[in-house]
Symmetry: D2
Subunit: 366 residues, 4 copies
């Protein structure tokens, strides 16, 4: 049967994919088995962060040289690169490979599936139509992953279209309007609407009204990790969860951080994934069964944390994205005793306001 191998490798310098090469060379999985990659790279995490390009080129190159797939096939592999190793975060990649396992288990194990949504028109973005199309796509990706129980979906990574001047004009030429002509808002809104679509698709919330989209922060998915890009016309949806009948050694779970200091949320996610932890967990309890955690964090929207003033939203030198990643990255690394953790920012409708979703993957053994 199918099984997933999940391995974390350090990125030793900006364009180093030797960790992936070593895994392939050592037989952990084949180059052609690589199903997806999620990594942190060392740039500024902003518009001109080219470390994502360099990592992508390096990892592509390893797959090209060691496998049989061509560049265009490799371009189809979901590779999510999040820039910004602020504070103590170590550049690294988590590699998901889909392999054969002759001995499937009855207990659920980690599985993943990919689906493309219907075409998302510019006039859909930020509106109920997009929520529905994403919700539908999430259910397709669940099917592809072999997951029937929505509560066994613990991580949904998406990439959805943005508004551009071109697509706005296209909508207008068809007599349509767009939710806003401010294209700078459209990234947040595309991601947030997608977060709601995931929540609807998984039954976390009921279908929201148009007015709630982007406004009602009490509505969110606890498993969403949404990004967007100008080059897309459909949403790319990757669902990771657990399903019975799947092989391999890995399980995934999730929880949320209620705020930037809530490291209990990280331990809850690890427990949800199947890691035995005592009542009062401590980094010393985290052992080689730990694979990785995946968090979204954000500045507290009211600029307070536990009642204390926060200055990150007012810093014109260092973007709040960097402040948030620096602090939450430190909290996360301390909680698990490992700085190679995936912490990214920006979480409209993705986890509670001021906090964010936490997914965790553990190696539960044979």
């Amino acid at each position: 049967c199918v099984a997933f191998e999940v391995r974390k490798v350090e990125i030793g310098s900006v364009n180093d994919a030797s960790g992936l090469a070593a895994l392939i060379d050592d037989g952990a999985f084949g180059a052609d088995d690589v199903f997806g990659i999620i990594g942190k790279t060392e740039g500024n995490g902003g518009v001109n962060d080219f470390t994502r390009v360099l990592a992508d080129m390096a990892f592509d190159q390893v797959l090209l040289e060691r496998g049989t797939r061509g560049q265009s096939e490799i371009d189809q592999i979901p590779m999510v690169w999040s820039g910004g190793c602020d504070g103590v975060i170590t550049p690294h990649a988590t590699v998901f490979a889909r392999v054969d396992d002759p001995n499937p288990r009855p207990e659920p194990r980690l599985t993943a599936g990919i689906a493309m949504s219907e075409v998302i028109q510019p006039e859909d973005i930020g509106r109920p139509a997009m929520v529905e199309k994403i919700a539908h796509g999430v259910r397709d990706a669940m099917k592809a992953a072999g997951i029937t129980d929505p509560s066994e979906v613990h991580y949904v990574q998406t990439k959805t279209p943005l508004l551009t001047m071109e697509t706005i004009n296209d909508a207008k030429s068809r007599g349509q309007t767009v939710f806003s002509e401010d294209i700078h808002q459209s990234m947040d809104m595309s991601n947030g609407t997608t977060g709601l679509g995931i929540a609807v698709g998984l039954g976390e919330i009921d279908m929201p009204t148009a007015e709630q989209i982007g406004k009602d922060h009490s509505l969110y998915s606890s498993v969403a990790s949404c990004s967007s890009g100008v080059e897309l016309e459909r949403g790319q949806i990757v669902v990771v969860g657990n399903a019975p009948g799947v092989g391999g050694r890995y399980r995934i779970g999730h929880s949320v951080m209620e705020d930037a200091l809530d490291f209990d949320g990280i331990y809850r996610a690890l427990r949800s994934a199947g890691l035995d932890l005592p009542d009062r967990p401590h980094p010393g309890d985290i052992d080689e069964r730990f694979v990785n955690v995946f968090l979204k964090c954000e500045a507290a929207p009211d600029a307070t944390l536990r009642g204390r003033r926060q200055i990150m939203l007012d810093d014109s030198d260092v973007h709040w994205h960097r402040h948030a990643k620096g602090a939450v990255g430190g909290v996360t690394a301390a909680a698990v005793g490992d700085p190679a953790v995936f912490v990214s920012v920006g979480a409209l409708h993705q986890g509670p306001a001021g906090g964010g979703p936490v997914a965790a993957i553990v190696d539960v053994g044979d």
Copy 2:
């Protein structure tokens, strides 16, 4: 007898000292009782961080308006402002006031003392002569604080001279040499040599050789917090510890963080100060007895943390000072459940390499 009142106040905007004013108006202590202030302000923590100036002016103003001391007397009060509220750190000040207490206790309580060292010549900086002068000054400050047991000193805050072109030329004109003519190095070296002087003064280490100063990172004080300034010719030394026969409700303790993720070091310091904590402490155990913690952090000199690559030393956009404060500030705030913590950087001979000293003050009650 003498007693110390120790209170933490938020700085609600860059030049807000209303917290201090309220304490005085509410009778916590008198304006003329204020003995010293240690605070975090919201600037970049670098050369052009003027938030320190604004805080100092605001706190001075409150003392001027509500007390009888003039500006020149108020300028003598040790006020330590550390810029840089990276990540989640909240701008705040810890105010130490020296008051009368008719009911001294037999158990040791928090006390503090100030001394000025002998004149530190430019040719002394970075050399054994400075170590000795500081060590002597530390013992003077202990006496002023009424502390006889060096192990009851838990925090030593210093301000010492730097090399400048003028003082280098002065040394040369007297036929002397200086340890280095690179004035940019002299801040680290003045602070580091002072760290060793504190360690010698308190018996933490034996007198180092000239070669060990600035080089042998195994030598350090666990209670030193050293800064420097061009305007000084002597070292200003403030010692904070516990002594019997002192009144008040406060105790101080200390420990070290072995690295940026070692939050156990924070709990060790709180226990050392007298806070009862269970075996596996949790932020939920921290209650209103908690006053504040004071940490120094730094980039790991070998650019690794728990064996993982660290990128902060290579970031030309955001200084590693900001990365370190962001991450360690997050860890500290999470450990104590309060973002109003004192975390500053730069720790040559101040705590272990890659880590740093942690002092903690708790309110142990009457």
Copy 3:
């Protein structure tokens, strides 16, 4: 009769107003004569740039100590502090004092006037109502300055209200709408609408339609310098121009820079102010008659300059404001041979797109 004295002083350190003190002590004018101040300070020019506060406090203090006006009267004096001495720009202030001159001249000389607009409702911002209220206020300020010919107005400095959550709710409670509920947009829009109001007030353009506000970049004032603040409910308008019957030695003129490299625009403004310049001007032609130039600059909206790609809008580390000030500050300082020039950013409806207005003041002698 009335006359204006216009002097430029360096700010020698972040809170240095000794240049103003020296002018008063030397008799250039009295402390109570100071009418307005426009200066550059050395901060980041962003939200957390506190150097503006420090300069304001320092200049206020000199006026308090040397004059008879109290703090609240001094707070009424227009002091415009623009943060950001990027590149080579020197922190400095241009001080305008209103003095008596027994010998008025028939030729026009520099004069200035202040007016407050009608109350600008939240629902007015970004709409024709605000354009009209500002246009009316500009004509009031002209009257106060004694200027009858709109073509003799060369610099209009304004400060107008922003939208806030409170004022948006206030508008709604009265059954009104606002142009946008995105409060981050409201600074640009308040400034831009004001720019159009100035242009209408001075007859530079006809009354724009609602649709043109914020959109039609071909509409602008060539003499507008607009800022905004949350604390206002009316627009504060300072008009600087020339009028006959005014005394003093100074004249003002203006032109525009068509793009960031158009230093001819600076020479055109100087000529317009009355400085004799040869056909091909050179910094060597600029002598002690030069007082200062006041420019607004911005990133080219299409990210090209003279057909070449510009990267400043894509830099997530250093804001394009800083790039633009750095480059245009260099161009301006080179053109006049003096780095103490006033260059600020942000110019919606203030000068041509990608360029900006240039005002120049010269000392034309007795």
Copy 4:
């Protein structure tokens, strides 16, 4: 005979080398003719500026695909990538190709030559031995370029070794000392010593004493552009100048900027290269004969410019490198009417203190 083709191409996005591809495809020169490339890329210009890597990969790729040379041969081609398009500078590359020209000219035309110096030992760096080895290498590179008159050398680009912990230990193991064990100083010192070596090699100065190296700022080369890297053990020296008997349409000249505002230095360099300019040059005089200018700039060491205070050395948010490039890039782009100019920083012994060398290349026609 030999001739050089010199062409400037924009870099349209961070890894765009289509401009080079187009030149080859259009027959301007062959891929195998490319002799060297000097370009500006859009990163921060610091340690973690990876835009240089991306440009290098992209330009290499074009040469690989369109020529017969392999990667290792292409790695030998001098490609100098300077990060930092601060202000208005456009990312671009100047490509030098060595072609055949059946019709050499009697008048001197642009030529270039490469030489490797003797091995530069760690103990040589910052000392007279390195000056001598570089001076010798410069004369070798002149020979390779066919230049006999040192005054016809107008640009010398070098890359020389740095000190590292390894090479310092190697020197010590051989009983040698190094000029300083502070490896952070060694880049400036390697470049500065090389600047003096160039000056000696070209007869601009006499052999300096050991004490003058790095200290006596009155000693410099006006044609030096020096960089360094850890991977080298010899100095790579590229000399560009003019020689008779060479074909092609190009000439090079040089001058210096005395300070950051001295745009006359740019016009002097263009005249030196053979461009006819009127007495008072203006950007309008610069026509299609202009190819490019190459400048080094720096912060004024005494933090004043034309007697005015400069704040760039005190900015802890934005490095002075960025301030200097922003301002001088603006001045240069304005002087020539083209933002695609090569402006880099850091100029110990390379041009006058506070200013820097300017080389200019023009197309003087057939």
